[in-house]
């Protein structure tokens, strides 16, 4: 039964260990709300990619810079907002990692996976804030 709605706001330091703790809390809350393994995988992956981007690329793992995270879980959907203190970036300028010229490059697939697994993804301000949503039961974009 889905009845444990969650609304959380937390600020964590730029420490990937903290990201794991936060992900574990989110996973527990999704399980409590009877989300499927498939939805939980999708959300965990997108949150992992976005938190690593915020802490590593945004805040440069600077221990004096924090990441502010707020998320809501209902029976129907998961929503999260992640804000770092970095200079931001223009997601339109990130090279397409599926382009044959870039396909063998080792980096740059995080944003693609976030877009592929989540229902909606938007960047705000100077690009240091991302909001993502996952509608429960929705298939990934390239699920063929």
């Amino acid at each position: 039964m889905c009845a444990n709605h969650v609304n959380v706001e937390v600020t964590v330091p730029s420490d990937l260990g903290e990201a794991r703790v936060l992900q574990s809390r989110i996973e527990d809350a999704l399980v409590a709300n009877t989300y499927t393994e498939h939805d939980i995988f999708a959300i965990k992956l997108a949150v992992e990619e976005a938190l690593v981007n915020a802490m590593k690329h945004g805040n440069q793992l600077d221990p004096d810079k924090n990441v502010n995270v707020s998320y809501q879980i209902t029976c129907e959907r998961f929503d999260i907002r992640i804000a770092d203190e970095g200079p931001g970036f223009n997601p339109g300028e990130v090279p397409d990692p599926t382009d044959p010229a870039n396909i063998e490059r080792p980096c740059g697939r995080g944003l693609l996976l976030i877009r592929g697994f989540m229902s909606d993804v938007q960047y705000h301000g100077r690009g240091n804030v991302v909001t993502m949503s996952k509608i429960r039961g929705e298939k990934p974009a390239d699920d063929s």
Binding site: L16, R20, E37, H38, F41, A42, K44, L45, E48, E49, V52, P97, T98, I103, E104, R105, P106, C107, R109, G110, L112, L113, G116, F117, P140, A141, D142, D143, S144
Partner: protein
């Protein structure tokens, strides 16, 4: 000076003929330190042990992020450069979506099971 504790094994390697069948010990391939160590072990397999046919079995893996993909591409290129071959097998449905979304399923050889993998070289 205190000696460092022995490094935890990340991979199980079984030799079947001239094919190195590699199983991951960890269920999650996530943090950079872990991925770096996996990369080091795979590098040794090719450079020091001279393996040219590598079959990566993902049956133990239930979560993997984009950070691990870079190592797989690197290994694929490294083996190509020495006329070797990399094959991946037993990838869970959700992780297979990671390869499909990034279109790496078109670059890397992915087969359903180990037997098919052994016959792919």
């Amino acid at each position: 000076m205190a000696s460092q504790p022995p490094r935890r094994r990340r991979l199980e390697v079984e030799e079947i003929g001239d094919i190195a069948v590699v199983n991951f010990v960890d269920k999650k391939i996530l943090d950079e330190q872990n991925i770096q160590m996996i990369g080091d072990d795979l590098n040794k397999l090719v450079d020091e042990l001279g393996r040219r046919k590598v079959l990566l079995n993902f049956q133990n893996v239930d979560f993997m992020s984009s950070a691990a993909l870079g190592k797989l591409i690197w290994l694929h290129k490294k083996l190509n450069d020495v006329q070797g071959k990399l094959v991946l097998c037993k990838i869970a449905k959700d992780i297979l979506d990671v390869f499909k979304i990034t279109k790496l399923d078109k670059v890397l050889k992915i087969v359903p099971d180990e037997q098919t993998g052994l016959q792919s070289f």
